[in-house]
């Protein structure tokens, strides 16, 4: 390091050195990075167990230096329920895509939220099935073209995109629910704070903490990473408004 300079940012050690398999500019990587930053800052590496889904992030366990279980497609919330019920003092989180959480795993998601399981759900909404090559997701926007909606999502045929954060925030078992985005440095910094808050609420045992991340998929959307920022910022956020949908600690603060 040059004299007279101090370190202001470096890669967290809990994010393993392995090169992440994600496409360039994919927010899955960003989210992995900031979850590990928070885990490291809170010093809970030895007390955290993650559950990875089936989707692009199936390999999340290769990058995070914490115990991990890999779940069947859609079942991460059931798996996390089993872990957290066995180890109530540990931090447990699931990391799931929209196909995983909001299509095949809807029942497990809703019921875990409704039971007020004390774990954290990181829901990565990229409005597409990334892993299987860009098919329509339950969160694909109206008119959005995917490989199975080649003329654009037709809501008369396949229904409307699901707003999961709004849905689960209605459930009494949910203690904290927020929709985030990772499209700017400011928003990434904000998201980190929310992750930390979710873990803190988990520690207090107040109920489910649910963070929906409006994400991108440059490969599936067939655009460059920088272009994907526009679709996130303009189209996605219009339908998926940011913000805290529920916070049971709001009044006590």
């Amino acid at each position: 390091m040059k004299d007279g300079y101090e370190l202001v940012y470096k890669r967290p050690a809990t994010l393993l050195d392995a090169r992440m398999h994600y496409c360039p500019g994919c927010f899955h990587s960003t989210m992995h990075k900031i979850i590990m930053e928070v885990v490291e800052e809170m010093g809970i590496e030895e007390d955290t167990i993650g559950v990875s889904p089936v989707g692009c992030s199936v390999f999340a366990y290769n990058y995070m230096d914490i115990d991990f279980q890999q779940a069947a497609h859609g079942r991460a919330c059931a798996v996390a329920t089993g872990i957290k019920r066995s180890l109530p003092d540990k931090f447990v989180f699931t990391y799931q895509g929209d196909g995983d959480l909001a299509a095949i795993g809807t029942a497990e998601t809703i019921h875990s939220c409704n039971r007020g399981e004390n774990f954290t759900i990181f829901f990565i909404n990229n409005a597409i099935y990334g892993m299987t090559g860009g098919q329509m997701a339950p969160t694909t926007l109206e008119g959005q073209k995917t490989s199975t909606s080649p003329y654009g999502r037709d809501i008369k045929n396949v229904g409307h995109p699901l707003r999961m954060a709004e849905m689960v925030s209605q459930l009494p078992g949910v203690a904290y629910c927020e929709r985030l985005v990772l499209n700017t440095p400011a928003n990434v910094r904000k998201a980190k704070k929310s992750i930390k808050k979710a873990f803190e609420i988990q520690k207090q045992g107040l109920g489910m903490t649910f963070l929906e991340v409006v994400s991108n998929c440059p490969s599936g959307w067939k655009c460059s990473p920088v272009e994907s920022l526009d679709f996130v910022g303009e189209d996605m956020l219009k339908y998926y408004p940011l913000g805290v949908k529920k916070d049971v600690t709001a009044n006590s603060n």
Binding site: V51, F68, T81, G82, I83, S86
Partner: protein
């Protein structure tokens, strides 16, 4: 030493009590006839077991995946269901088998296919011993034929699941689940603390404490070579299980020239068949597999080699499933027949005897 505790209990409830005594740490289930008494009993006992999780899940799909999580975290875990529900669990069983998570399953069989009937059946033999889910895996399968064995096999299932890091299944049926018999209950296993479990199961995902490396439980082996290596490892384990864990009962087999094979409820009737047959001068014997997998192939092979043995008869409450495994071992050396009823219709000893007589 241990004092005997005698009780008069229903099969399903005895099984549930045995699970608690075996040190079960978590039960996850979904109601279905004819096994709902298991969760009902457990939820009734729950206040006495504050450290045991007993959770009614939203489906069998959720239950089996909760088992994955809780078993993977180091617990002694169980779920129970009946045929349609166990079908729904099969994806999870395959994942659990590959990730090698100790877990106990109970299938109190009812008649199928489809929604079928709530009457007892043995129609799920194939599903239980041949896989049920996808891929090359095996589940240790117990076939109790009495309420006492519901107790004994449950305890054994927990222990073998842990010993082999494998799913174990109690394959029983509505009749044994519902019948009441006098039983002897074992003492409780010593309570396992989180620290005990950490020591017993160093592979469990319970937080990478004290400098140990991170643990990972997965069934994903994306590279072909890794998948094949995993399959070889699993097969080597299964071969050992076949060597060490076969259990069966012989009833008048020594001089028998007619060999009945039957398990579970059918085997109770077939014991009577042997008794009546012998009164009538027939040399009938019964081979009762106690473990359906691993299957008592060596014993059957031994019998097939005997010159005096004339035929095999597999008696099942199905259109003939286990009979295929008997045939596989006998391999044409002796005739192998099947007799069975389905839909919950239970044959009598006389029915079976008449069927045997027709074959000789």
């Amino acid at each position: 030493m241990s004092k005997k505790e005698i009780a008069f209990m229903k099969g399903n409830e005895a099984l549930a009590e045995a699970a608690l005594r075996a040190g079960m740490t978590g039960y996850y289930g979904y109601p279905i006839t004819p096994q709902s008494e298991i969760m009902e009993y457990l939820t009734r006992q729950a206040p006495e077991y504050p450290n045991v999780t007993i959770l009614q899940a939203e489906s069998e799909v959720a239950s089996v995946n909760m088992l994955y999580g809780a078993g993977g975290a180091g617990g002694r875990v169980m779920t129970s269901s009946s045929s349609p529900g166990y079908s729904l669990m099969q994806e999870g069983v395959s994942y659990i088998a590959c990730a090698e998570i100790p877990s106990v399953f109970v299938n109190v069989q009812r008649g199928g296919p489809g929604l079928g009937t709530i009457q007892p059946s043995q129609g799920d033999y194939f599903q239980a011993v041949k896989g049920g889910g996808h891929g090359d895996y095996r589940v240790i399968v117990f076939a109790p034929n009495s309420v006492q064995e519901m107790v004994d096999h449950t305890i054994l299932a927990f222990d073998l699941a842990d010993k082999w890091r494998n799913p174990a299944l109690i394959l029983t049926d509505g009749a044994i689940g519902q019948m009441m018999e006098k039983i002897e209950l074992p003492e409780h296993y010593k309570f396992r603390s989180t620290e005990d479990m950490r020591a017993e199961k160093p592979w469990a995902t319970n937080g990478r404490k004290d400098g140990r490396k991170k643990n990972l439980l997965t069934s994903l082996n994306i590279k072909s070579e890794d998948m094949e290596r995993k399959n070889h490892e699993l097969q080597a384990k299964y071969a050992k299980i076949c060597d060490e864990e076969v259990r069966y009962e012989s009833y008048h087999l020594d001089d028998a020239d007619i060999i009945i094979s039957a398990y579970g409820l059918s085997s109770r009737i077939c014991k009577k068949v042997v008794d009546i047959g012998r009164e009538q001068g027939m040399k009938v014997g019964l081979l009762r597999p106690i473990t359906l997998w691993p299957f008592p192939s060596k014993k059957i092979d031994e019998l097939a080699k005997k010159e005096n043995v004339k035929l095999f008869m597999s008696i099942e409450m199905s259109v003939g499933q286990m009979v295929e495994d008997v045939k596989l071992v006998v391999n044409g050396r002796k005739p192998v027949h099947h007799y069975g009823k389905t839909g919950g219709i239970i044959f009598t000893a006389e029915d079976v005897l008449n069927q045997i007589k027709a074959k000789i």
